[in-house]
């Protein structure tokens, strides 16, 4: 085999965690290599070694037959390795175009940036990933999925020999994934080698040649994908089978309407929307990237201003001007952007969890550290967050474990209605199953749950009802009996295909 990249006994140790140990792996030139593993298995750490962000503590890496020891991300780029990291790294206050071309801004005389060339090149790149947005838009105005697409477009703007994608599809919906896969296939035809990490096991068969599974920092095995099935992959990853992934619980009784939204209007340009969720119900929210799902939830929660609309909780109208009003009235919003909006990255796990309700762990304004630690440990155990201790900074947790912390903080608050925007983003299949069970427990406890997800099979597995957004409008409501992927997707497209 002609190996473009080979790792020999690579190890990486962090204080409190062995992230990788004795990993030996060869990536063949031109192949698409899938890397799988549970949250915290060491996938991203492996990628960061390639990126020059971390250096291995032991072992060696060879790229193109040469010893490869990048000290900085710049070294990696010079070697022809491009990486789309799991956590987004765009500069929020620059435009999309500037972000795309940051390392190589088109210039005119005297080093002045050539704005025209910049924007026209950006348009072309965005078109390739299917993002129909003015490249002069500031990145901070984008949703997470759109940022993800910008990151991908950025990686594509350079010729690379090895392209690494760390969970690129965690927030994408089927059409964007489709487009990404056709790009991957095209690159592959051009001879580019690709390393691809994902927790969406169904999708990897379409593009992958071989698969490597990591568990607790060790390499479990490397196999040809051909002939393997999803259950095989699951078994390799977590060492057991997962029988019924979603575990739909038909026995849960639905109660009164928990939350009713009537004619919610974000601004003059967007249509009014209405929906409701009952106690004990899981309501799914489907739609394409940028269809206004997240924005609607944020407006409802008071995170963004809204123009108009009636919100009723438990049958009573409530005024929500800011998130604190929403929380006071018993609403939670788990945001899709965990890094920017969900977490206090440099603070420890326990303080992240209790921030939603410090009253529960304090008396007379004094924090009771014991009670706080006990509450945090409880939730960390319940969600099986993999962390050295509850005093570890959230920044150093793996992506999926960070996601669990965001969920934990709202479970700690324990509000009567939960809005979950991409609750399983980047969470491994075993932990996903645990989160689903937890949601069923919440539903059984008569909470109302709104679940926004780009993973349509997940919505169809978990929800009693699905409402579909298309261009900021709710275009349909599908009861469980009528769930059908094609039908829901065609609804999601509806407002985009019609003139």
């Amino acid at each position: 085999m002609d190996a473009i990249l080979s790792l020999e006994g690579v190890g990486k140790i962090f204080p409190g965690a062995v992230a990788l140990s004795d990993v030996s792996l060869s990536i063949a030139r031109g192949e698409t290599h899938i890397i799988l593993g549970e949250n915290g298995a060491g996938k991203s750490t492996l990628i960061k070694l390639l990126a020059g962000i971390y250096q291995p503590d032991s072992g060696s890496i060879a790229f193109n037959g040469q010893p490869y020891q990048p000290k900085t991300p710049h070294d990696a780029q010079l070697s022809g390795i491009r990486i789309v990291h799991q956590e987004l790294n765009l500069l929020p206050y620059l435009s999309i175009a500037e972000n795309l071309m940051l390392e190589n801004l088109p210039r005119r005389a005297f080093g002045i940036v050539d704005g025209k060339a910049l924007n026209s090149r950006a348009v072309a790149l965005l078109k390739e990933v299917g993002l129909d947005i003015d490249p002069r838009t500031r990145v901070e105005a984008l949703g997470v999925a759109q940022m993800q697409l910008v990151e991908i477009a950025k990686a594509l703007s350079y010729d690379s020999k090895l392209l690494v994608l760390d969970e690129p599809t965690a927030t994408l919906t089927p059409p964007e994934i489709e487009r990404l896969f056709s790009i991957i296939k095209r690159l592959k035809a051009r001879g580019v080698t690709i390393i691809y990490i994902s927790h969406r096991l169904h999708e990897v068969f379409e593009i992958g040649d071989r698969v490597t599974v990591l568990r607790n920092g060790r390499l479990v095995s490397t196999r040809d994908l051909q002939g393997l099935t999803v259950p095989d992959l699951v078994r390799m990853m977590i060492g057991r089978d997962i029988a019924d992934e979603y575990g739909f619980d038909a026995s849960i009784m639905q109660g009164e309407v928990a939350l009713r939204v009537t004619n919610l209007k974000r601004d003059a340009a967007t249509p009014a929307i209405s929906f409701n969720v009952r106690h004990g119900e899981i309501l799914g929210v489907a739609g394409l990237v940028g269809s206004g799902r997240t924005e609607a939830m944020r407006a409802l929660f008071g995170a963004d201003p809204k123009l108009d609309g009636l919100v009723e909780i438990g049958g009573k109208p409530v005024a929500i001007a800011a998130p604190k009003d929403a929380v006071r009235h018993g609403l939670s919003l788990l945001t899709e952007d965990r890094k920017g909006q969900g977490l206090l990255l440099d603070m420890p796990v326990d303080k992240n969890i209790t921030i939603t309700d410090l009253g529960k762990v304090s008396r007379n304004g004094l924090i009771r550290r014991r009670a706080e630690a006990a509450a945090a440990n409880d939730l960390v155990g319940q969600l099986r967050v993999k962390a050295g201790s509850i005093e570890q900074a959230v920044r150093n947790l793996s992506g999926g474990n960070q996601q669990k912390v965001v969920l934990a903080k709202w479970l700690f608050r324990g509000t009567s209605t939960l809005i979950l925007d991409e609750p399983t983003r980047g969470v491994d299949i075993g932990a996903r199953r645990e989160i689903y069970q937890l949601l069923w427990m919440l539903a059984a406890a008569q909470k109302g749950i709104i679940m926004v997800s780009s993973d349509l099979p997940e919505l169809m597995g978990m929800c009693h009802r699905i409402i579909v957004f298309s261009r900021n409008k709710i275009v349909g409501e599908v009861p469980r009996a009528a769930f059908d992927q094609e039908h829901i997707l065609s609804l999601a497209y509806q407002e985009y295909v019609r003139p």
Partner: protein, 338 residues
């Protein structure tokens, strides 16, 4: 990299050890620096290691420590307060004016002066915070404006003159050295630091100050009002400027519209040297106390060594820059330990 090349960094650290290391790197570092600097001057500078000099340092440190205590709150939330020096000036003239009112008995006058100082400072601080959050203006700009306004107000109140003639009992208290080693005004500074430490470490409010500085959007979306905590931090900074003004009156016995020029920079320097990050969310008020000590020990030590007034600021400036460099390095170390 071979396996043996980094044996220390590579060993996994147990939570307890990580905690100890974290303490050593974060808090003990500055303390160690203070000890070393003190040791250095004790050995090299004549008269440095005398009890008289130690007392002098304790006295000189008090004002800056009090200012820096409030400044720590502001910087922890990610803001900055440039106005404390001239707010202090305003408070000294307000306080002195109240105190020399002959219709009041000394005890009443002193109490009223203290309240007036604290109220004046708190109002200035509140305005800083309210304006910068209400109109989303960087606190750098707002407090720069307040710096000028308070300085002007101090001139107006004092009619551009120095106010003297404070009650004798007040002056005596300022000169008091408790038990022969603890100057009364240093005690005030220590009490302020202790109160700040308690609030930041044990209260819900203190927790929120750190959280707001770490990620105010996440705090907002968790159902809180981050602006409340920012305004509160500025109010605290104004309040401590008022207390510092009382300390100033105790020490110098005059209210002066030109008091406090440049004090804000010393306060900021103490906070930064003490390891609080200018971007907010990280730091400690004990560090601030140590930072203030380092600044004063340096200043006194250099003077005793005969370093001229022209060179002294150069050295102190270098130390501040060095502290920030060390801070960046310390951040990197801390990330590896957590």
């Amino acid at each position: 990299m071979s396996e043996t090349s980094q044996p220390v960094a590579a060993a996994p650290v147990s939570p307890a050890r990580a905690k100890l290391l974290r303490f050593l790197v974060r808090d003990a570092g500055v303390l160690l620096a203070l000890v070393l600097i003190t040791l250095f001057f004790s050995l090299t500078a004549p008269y440095f290691a005398t009890s008289g000099n130690a007392l002098k340092i304790f006295v000189q440190i008090a004002i800056n420590t009090v200012l820096a205590a409030g400044m720590t709150f502001v910087i922890l939330t990610g803001g900055i307060d440039l106005s404390v020096g001239s707010v202090l000036a305003l408070c000294t003239v307000v306080g002195a004016t109240v105190m020399i009112d002959e219709s009041l008995s000394p005890a009443v006058a002193i109490t009223l002066a203290l309240l007036a100082c604290m109220a004046t400072g708190a109002v200035c601080g509140f305005l800083n915070g309210w304006i910068s959050t209400r109109w989303k203006i960087p606190s750098f700009i707002v407090t720069l404006g307040m710096l000028n306004m308070a300085a002007g107000a101090a001139r107006v109140v004092s009619d551009n003159s120095t106010i003297t003639g404070l009650p004798q009992s007040f002056v005596d208290f300022g000169n008091l050295i408790i038990g022969g080693f603890l100057p009364s005004i240093f005690l005030v500074a220590v009490l302020v630091i202790a109160a700040g430490w308690f609030v930041l470490r044990f209260t819900v409010f203190g927790r929120m100050i750190f959280a707001v500085g770490t990620n105010d959007e996440a705090v907002r979306l968790s159902g809180h009002n981050p602006d409340f905590y920012k305004v509160a931090a500025f109010t605290i900074s104004g309040l401590t400027a008022g207390i510092a003004a009382m300390v100033y009156l105790l020490r110098l016995n005059i209210g002066s519209p030109i008091a406090g020029v440049g004090y804000e920079l010393n306060a900021i320097a103490a906070v930064i040297i003490g390891g609080t990050s200018l971007s907010g969310g990280k730091g400690s008020i004990i560090g601030t106390l140590v930072g203030a000590c380092i600044l004063q020990v340096l200043s006194t030590g250099l003077q005793l060594l005969g370093v001229g007034d022209n060179f002294k600021p150069i050295v102190i400036g270098l130390v501040i820059v060095l502290a920030v460099i060390l801070d960046a390095y310390r951040e990197r170390l801390l990330r590896r330990i957590r």
